[in-house]
Amino acid sequence: MQREFPRHLNSLAGLYEFTEEIMKAHDLPDGIRFPVHLATEELFVNMVHYNPTVTTDIEVGIDVAEQVTVSLVDNGGVEFDVTAKREVDVDSPLEERKPGGLGLHLIQNLVDSLEYQYQDGRGEVIFTKKSGNKDV
């Protein structure tokens, strides 16, 4: 959801209602709503204060998504960076295709973020997947 607000402190009440309504609709607890309101106000107020001659509206977008984070820890496995881009054959004719090699390619296309860390024999992969509208 996106809305434009006049560059003025009088916009704060409407800005609060706009973001509060969306967060309430998602049943978000106080513990998130408070810091979101605070950060939004602080940033907005600074844009007002420190650009006194600018007259354009300020565009504010808010998006609520549910995010799943999964981690897999491999103790004692070889080091292998699952985030590295791989050559995958998804174009050649049937005769030339080889089974295998699609797993990481699929992951890299399907998840929203993918990280790999390796230290002292401990390899950890963390990926996230978000629901909902991703444009803010």
């Binding site: 998804v90 174009d91 295709r97 089974p99 295998g100 699609l102 699929l106």
Partner: protein
Amino acid sequence: MFEIEYGDGGAVMCRGRLDAAQCEKAEAFMGELEGENTLDFTDLEYISSAGLGILLKTQKRLAGSSAGLKIINVNNHIYDVFRYSGFHAIFDIEAKE
């Protein structure tokens, strides 16, 4: 759970979740297929790359002598997986209505 068997209409019905632990079962069945075949994915919820490998292997074996595998009633998640894998160019795939 994953199940594979012939349906009443002659299509091969695949049901459940085809993950890497279910591949032996799938491979045993698909290894016996001859000629043209239709796989009906109406009740297949899930497939991972291990299952894709079996489909590809079967297709390579059959496509020399016939039109190979036709896969019908594919749900939109599996359809995405096929698309990312470039399977549309090498299988006859029909999405679920």
